[in-house]
């Protein structure tokens, strides 16, 4: 009996150890980002200078000195944050740009998608399956392929250089439709049929039964869509020639030498909304993915 206890104990803690090992690997970059943002720029450049020292052609070059990866700053410095938050309003402005670009996309993409996925769930037929399949293919298209056609379509519709050029393709992106449909199709048909027998119309079924069941899933999809667009780089670059409209992610995607310290601070600030979304929504991420209200999984 005692032996068994020891065995369970060992098993339990070896699992913790394995998990801890992975956790450290997974956590490292985020911790590095945060701690490095509290380093003075001189410390940063002495640590990483060589990685990003660039030749006059702009290519990254590698110089043979030690590259330090440090977790703890020699001296905690807020200078990067002071620059980002106080000295240069540009960053906050760009942060606000990100919010303006992303929030409507998340909100309306979900609205459009939840309706569409209901449409895909009910009365499945061959045509709908083909359309749904097309959605998946379109979802998998790499951005380089669609960027120029998108540019052309935007210019035909006179959306170029306005935020609509980012918003509209974002709102109608098939990604959320795919995820939500996958989820909704798991709602047992019996639940819906019961409502139907009670005389509920399609709208009522959608509003009263599907939507409440989907709430968790909606949250988890919202998180994914948010993360996706929060980090977008290429679309604004091409579709918005006025860089005062560019989101912060565009700045973050190209760090120049000397801006690395700043980039860490900006990245940390940029992570805050994602962090909040995660803290509030993590449980939904787990629960929302699989339908659990029915009889079967």
């Amino acid at each position: 009996m005692r032996k068994k206890k020891v065995k369970i104990f060992l098993k339990k803690w070896s699992a913790v150890l394995i998990a801890a090992f992975f956790a450290i690997l997974f956590l490292m970059p985020i911790i590095l980002t945060i701690t490095n943002s509290f380093m003075a720029s001189s410390e940063i450049s002495s640590n990483y200078g060589q990685v990003f020292a660039s030749g006059s052609t702009g290519g990254k070059t590698y110089i043979s000195e030690k590259v330090n990866l440090k977790f703890i700053p020699d001296m905690v410095s807020f200078s990067q944050y002071i620059t980002v938050l106080l000295k240069s309003p540009d960053y906050l402005f760009k942060f606000w740009n990100s919010v303006i670009l992303v929030a409507p996309i998340v909100f309306f993409q979900l609205m459009v998608a939840v309706l569409a996925s209901y449409g895909f769930t009910r009365y499945r037929g061959r045509i709908k399956e083909i359309i749904f399949f097309t959605y998946i293919i379109l979802m998998l298209m790499p951005y380089q392929v669609t960027l120029v056609p998108n540019y052309l379509v935007s210019s035909w519709l006179h959306l170029l250089d306005t935020r609509w050029a980012i918003w509209l393709p974002g709102i109608f992106s098939p990604f959320a439709v795919y995820l939500l449909t996958k989820f909704m199709r798991r709602i047992p048909i019996s639940v819906i049929e019961a409502a139907q027998i009670d005389g509920a119309g399609e709208w009522q079924i959608f509003r009263r039964i599907c939507l409440p069941l989907c709430k968790g899933c909606l949250c988890s999809v919202a998180i994914l869509v948010f993360i996706d667009y929060w980090n977008m780089v290429e679309q604004p670059l091409i579709l918005l020639s006025d860089d005062t409209m560019h989101p912060l992610s565009v700045f973050l995607s190209k760090i120049k030498n000397g801006e690395i310290g700043l980039a860490f601070a900006v990245a940390t600030i940029y992570m805050i909304p994602t962090l909040l979304v995660f803290l509030y929504g993590e449980d939904y991420l787990v629960e929302g993915i699989t339908y659990q209200g029915g009889i079967k999984g």
């Binding site: 030749g55 919010v99 929030a103 540019y151």
Partner: protein, 747 residues
């Protein structure tokens, strides 16, 4: 449940805020848009007038009240003061000058009177005359002398004494702007202080008599500072504007500061958030590079004064710009000139073309306008080009995409048919090699107005008289000398590699079969050669000049772009003997390269006004334009006859009479070098042999063509060899593999 509600509420709030903010933003953004459309409705139409009196050279110029222009005219060491009023009348204001005294500079006080900076010399004319006395005289606009302030020699520190501008503040202090310092003089002529700026002062002006501002190119950026009289120093002026090199500023009557950045005129009032854009000089056919002074009048007219040095006789031009409704102005077909940077020569060519053409006007589209990084510029440029909205005229020097890529996507028009069809043009009239520089597969894709020749120069005694040499020859030369002898000055491993690749880079690539051989011995030799140079060099300001090093035998070669015969003569002088422009080391072929040195343009296939584009090209290649290149080192004209004419001029001596009446040959060009200008080289008329050498070099020169992508891969990978991380063979192997991927992709 609670969290869920919070989240939903949060998203809704953010969305509303975003939309509201956007709505608000939208409005804000509409303002400049509206302003822009308003700006589009109006255009400033310029009327030009050559300023000056017959026979007088225009010297210092100042704009007074209501558009009056005061200027100094000089003739035979005599100076006179003139005034040009807005009604077009021009007259002399009599100024009583003592013997050997000239008006050097004019300025104004705060009450509408004029200030004259008078310099008295020990003798007039000649190169060695010295300033004996400086007087600041205040006169009323009609010429009545109000006050003479004698400052003696207080301000004159050395021979380089030169007054740039002059003004008086409301407290009666005089400010004199010298080259690198500001002198403040009290009413009684006693100097109050001299503030040394330490660098050349761009301009000094007063803001409504209250503040005196000084602009100059500081350590990192163009700066505007305020004179702090109490502290006898300059103090920072907090303005949210970024100025660029070449900014010209002045104090205005309607606005605190008027300034020109790039091609645009702005006004700015101290304390405002942003400047106001007034106009684009190019739209009014004014080359902002020549501007000297400008003023906005109460009736919104703009008076601009510019000096054009491009022809032999400098032209002083006054332009009066009147704001007119676009509809009233006869419509011209608009051509766009696309570039990622506006060089001075392109600006000048475009303005000159616009001025003389009554059918077309070119508008410059600068893709780098605004604060964009290079990647954004390139993607905007590419998106425009590929969707068929590209500019009519493509600047080839500042195109972010290379000619080959433009050709392969079919964006650039073959110019040969135009050249052949045009009755006014004859292919044989132009330097063959210069045309070839942008020729591919028998098609001509771009034309340039003038060119330079990139080469390596050394003593004949060191490098022989051959027309080309190999890397082995260079290494042998290096090995034959002491170890402290430099091959080139201030050359890093990277520079050396870059240099070698410029002409040899394409040798390792077989375009036809899409293969490359960087991993063979030849390329490794180049890497090893580059590795002989230091990792880093620091420019030693107090070190010996290149001439000293050459004369002592410590420096063997110069790598230069030769743009004039005078330059060649300079090198002969520097090396103190026969020189050879041998070119870069190659494996037999010529190592000199023709590079564009002036406006170089291609025609967009999608242009709706190809005739217009050709008009512009013709204009660049036109005899008149070819024979009047902007300045001494502008380069060689591509037209053979113009080139010969230039050579002719280079060989003809010009003379002047000095104070004693002896005839002396006038130098064609003067160079100074060394930390404090201790080495001065004067170049006189060239000999037939010198010109022949230049001619021969032009005739044998090839064209530089290095693929920038391959280049950047090489630079990237060779770094680890230079750092000692890898062997040359390994670095070359990596280069080989990466370039191969690139070549495969291109096929």
């Amino acid at each position: 449940m609670k969290i869920r509600n919070w989240l939903a509420a949060g998203i809704v709030v953010i969305t509303t805020l975003a939309l509201a903010g956007c709505g608000g933003k939208g409005k804000e953004e509409n303002v400049p848009e509206a302003a822009e459309s308003a700006k589009d409705d109006f255009i400033y139409v310029a009327e030009y007038e050559t300023l000056g009196e017959e026979g007088y050279m225009v010297g210092n110029v100042m704009s007074g009240d209501e558009g009056t222009i005061y200027f100094v005219g000089g003739k035979d060491n005599q100076t006179k003061l003139f005034v040009r009023k807005m009604d077009g009348s021009q007259e002399e204001i009599p100024v009583d000058l003592a013997e050997n005294t000239v008006i050097s500079v004019i300025g104004k006080d705060t009450e509408g009177n004029l200030l004259l900076g008078l310099e008295t010399y020990d003798q007039l004319g000649g190169m060695e005359s010295k300033t004996e006395n400086v007087t600041i005289r205040k006169i009323s606009p009609d010429g009545t002398v109000l006050q003479d302030v004698d400052t003696g020699k207080a301000m004159v520190k050395d021979d380089s004494f030169y007054m740039q501008s002059l003004l008086e503040d409301k407290d009666g202090n005089y400010y004199v702007c010298l080259q690198n310092s500001i002198c403040v003089i009290k009413q009684d002529g006693q100097p109050y202080c001299e503030i040394d700026v330490g660098t050349y002062i761009g301009s000094m002006f007063s803001v409504k008599g209250e503040k005196v501002l000084v602009s100059y190119f500081g350590d990192v950026a163009y700066e505007v500072q305020e004179v702090d009289l109490a502290g006898k120093r300059l103090k920072a002026l907090d303005v949210p504007i970024t100025f660029e090199y070449g900014t010209y500023l002045s104090g205005g009557e309607l606005a605190d500061i008027l300034y020109t950045v790039g091609t645009k005129l702005y006004t700015y009032n101290l304390g405002d958030e942003e400047p106001v854009e007034i106009l684009n000089w190019v739209d009014s056919d004014i080359d902002s590079g020549n501007l000297r002074d400008f003023q906005i009048l109460a009736d919104s007219r703009v008076v601009a004064f510019s000096m054009d040095w491009s022809s032999d006789e400098p032209k002083a031009e006054l332009a009066v710009l009147t704001k007119k409704n676009r509809a009233e102005v006869p419509e011209k077909t608009v051509l766009t000139y696309g570039t990622t940077y506006i060089p001075y020569f392109a600006k000048a060519d475009v303005v000159a073309f616009n001025k003389q053409s009554d059918k077309y006007r070119i508008e410059i589209k600068d893709y780098s306008e605004g604060d964009k990084d290079y990647e954004t510029i390139v993607s905007l440029w590419s998106a425009d080009m590929s969707s068929g909205n590209g500019p009519d005229i493509i600047d080839m020097v500042y195109s972010p995409v290379e000619l080959e890529e433009l050709v392969s996507m079919g964006v650039v028009e073959d110019l040969n048919p135009y050249l052949d069809k045009d009755a006014d043009m004859n292919r044989e009239d132009y330097v063959e090699n210069a045309l070839k520089a942008y020729e591919e597969d028998g098609k001509l894709y771009a034309v340039m107005r003038c060119f330079g020749v990139e080469t390596m120069i050394g003593k004949e005694s060191d490098i022989g008289t051959g027309t080309s040499w190999t890397l082995d020859d260079v290494m042998a030369l290096m090995d034959s000398k002491e170890s402290d002898v430099e091959l080139f000055e201030y050359t890093t491993k990277y520079n050396a590699l870059q240099m070698m690749l410029a002409i040899n880079g394409d040798k390792f690539v077989d375009e036809e079969n899409g293969t490359c051989h960087f991993n063979d011995g030849e390329f490794i030799k180049i890497l090893e050669f580059a590795n002989r140079f230091p990792q880093e060099v620091t420019y030693d300001q107090n070190g010996p000049s290149d001439v000293e090093k050459i004369r002592k035998g410590k420096l063997l070669l110069l790598k230069e772009t030769v743009t004039s015969v005078q330059q060649y003569q300079l090198y002969e002088n520097k090396f103190g003997g026969a020189i050879n422009m041998i070119g870069y080391p190659t494996s037999g072929e010529s190592g000199t390269m023709i590079t564009p040195n002036g406006t170089t343009v291609a025609m967009n296939v999608n242009s709706k006004n190809k005739e217009g584009v050709w008009e512009f090209m013709k204009f660049l290649l036109d005899q008149e334009r070819q024979e009047n290149l902007q300045s001494a080192n502008a380069g060689f004209p591509v037209m053979k006859s113009a080139l010969e004419k230039q050579f002719e001029k280079d060989m003809t001596a010009e003379y002047y009479e000095d104070a004693d009446g002896t005839k002396k040959e006038m130098p064609k060009a003067t160079w100074t070098s060394g930390a404090s200008g201790e080495v001065t080289v004067e170049v006189f008329a060239a000999s037939q042999e010198q010109v022949d050498r230049i001619r021969q070099m032009i005739e044998t020169a090839g064209a530089a063509r290095i693929d920038s992508q391959i280049f950047s891969i090489i630079i990237d990978e060779s770094q680890s060899y230079f750092d000692g991380q890898k062997k040359a063979e390994d670095a070359a192997g990596l280069i080989q593999e990466r370039v191969q991927v690139y070549l495969n992709e291109k096929r």
